[in-house]
């Protein structure tokens, strides 16, 4: 029998799996913290039902569309995604009776394809050399040609950051009275914008909002011109205090470090985010640094990153890791 139970006895009681999204644990990483006065915390978003932070976003996108009367049962939802959002949407759409078609680059890890198929989603592959930009471009084109699709478009839909503004950030504030820095990955920008806005509103400018972003390998930088670049419309760069890139190699080194030193089994983006979080923690004298673990490592098994020496990992630069 548990004694001295300081934490909630369970994650709560819910009517169904969609309601159970969120309420993830906040875990202190004492071994990785570079200074005694600085406490490092990870918000373990891999504990969501499909294993990633995107469950929050997908639920918010679908509920928002339902509230606005934009979708009806049986309709096909179309979304560009390199994985996690698609997997989350697939679970939620299966539960709610929508069809789902996802557009994703053909060079993502095979586990993503399996998970999407498992939940019944249809996959349209975009050219891998164009990275996520290629998936966005193809999905926008498909939606423009067929009005039967409903595209939530996580890159430009405020329901994405609102999932964090009304969820993740409130959960963090419930556990910590003070946050000196919040670190998350920059993809669509939803995690950083939603958490950033809420944390700044509640704690003021003393909380620094820090973006860790992937430095994509050259093989997936296949743009014809810099004008073919893409900035998600929901991103307000003015909200960011720091924006730091992490190479694929460093991201994997830190993913392994989280495993070896803190026994955290997380995906590659979390390695990158942890690297930045530890650096920021090292620049502080005291305070709480919170970072997001976006997903667990199960989608990356086939790459061998958890057991093989880094120099033996294939396609390090031609894979879209996160």
């Amino acid at each position: 029998m548990a004694t001295d139970l300081r934490n909630k006895p369970c994650g709560g009681r819910y009517g169904d799996i969609i309601e159970a999204i969120g309420h993830t644990p906040l875990i202190e990483l004492k071994r990785l913290s570079p200074k005694p006065g600085v406490r490092l915390w990870v918000k373990l978003e891999s504990r969501n039902p499909t294993g990633s932070v995107k469950d929050r976003v997908a639920r918010s996108l679908i509920l928002d569309a339902e509230d606005k009367g934009l979708i009806r049962p049986g309709q096909t939802i179309l979304e560009p995604t390199s994985g996690n959002t698609g997997i989350s949407l697939a679970m939620i759409c299966a539960r709610k009776g929508y069809r789902l078609k996802v557009v994703m680059p053909d060079n993502v890890t095979p586990e993503r394809t399996e998970l999407l198929r498992m939940y019944g989603a249809e996959i349209v592959y975009s050219e891998g050399s164009k990275g996520s930009n290629g998936a966005v471009e193809l999905a926008l084109d498909m939606a423009a040609k067929d009005s039967a699709y409903y595209m939530p478009y996580q890159y430009g839909n405020e329901a994405n950051p609102n999932a964090h503004y009304n969820g993740t950030a409130l959960e963090i504030l419930e556990e910590l009275d003070e946050v000196s820095a919040f670190v998350a990955g920059l993809g669509t920008g939803g995690t950083l914008m939603g958490n950033g806005r809420r944390l700044k509103e509640e704690l003021g400018d003393k909380v620094k909002i820090v973006a860790a972003e992937p430095m994509q390998g050259e093989p997936v930088q296949g743009l014809r011109s810099l004008d073919d670049g893409f900035i998600p419309p929901i991103i307000d760069i003015g909200l960011l205090d720091r924006k730091i890139f992490v190479t694929n190699e460093d991201a994997i080194v830190w993913t392994r470090k989280l495993l070896d030193e803190e026994q955290l089994f997380v995906g590659v983006s979390t390695g990158a985010i942890a690297r930045v979080a530890v650096r920021i923690a090292g620049e502080l004298d005291e305070g709480n640094v919170v970072f997001i673990a976006a997903d667990d490592g199960s989608k990356y098994f086939s790459s061998g990153i958890y057991t093989r020496p880094i120099e033996e990992i294939e396609n390090l630069d031609s894979t879209v890791w996160w």
Partner: protein
């Protein structure tokens, strides 16, 4: 939370910086992956690049003279847009990395 000691050293002037060029921009600099240019801050260095390689001008800068919105320039590994933009001081030994703005991945 300073980016680097070198970046904050206001006494440094006219530093030779290394600039890493993304594949999309290499044809405009004679195929080089890495070039050097002199300047005290990011703006001066990029303008020196344009002077040496005029066809980079339309890719690097918008018509308003500011950075092209789809170009990210990093001082070592930090985006200069959240530092002091084109006025960000560049110190000895610093590297500027130019990268295209791309959609995020799995996040």
């Amino acid at each position: 939370m300073a980016p680097t000691a070198a970046a904050n050293d206001k006494n440094l002037k006219g530093n030779m910086a290394t600039i890493k060029i993304p594949p999309v921009l290499r044809p405009a600099v004679g195929g080089e992956r890495e070039i050097s240019a002199d300047g005290e801050n990011v703006g001066e260095i990029l303008r020196a690049v344009v002077e040496e390689h005029p066809s980079t001008s339309a890719q690097l800068f918008g018509s308003d003279g500011d950075l092209n919105r789809y170009v990210n320039v990093y001082l070592n590994d930090e985006d200069v847009r959240v530092l002091d933009g084109l006025d960000t001081t560049v110190g000895t030994g610093d590297t500027l990395v130019i990268l295209p703005a791309m959609a995020g991945g799995a996040l």
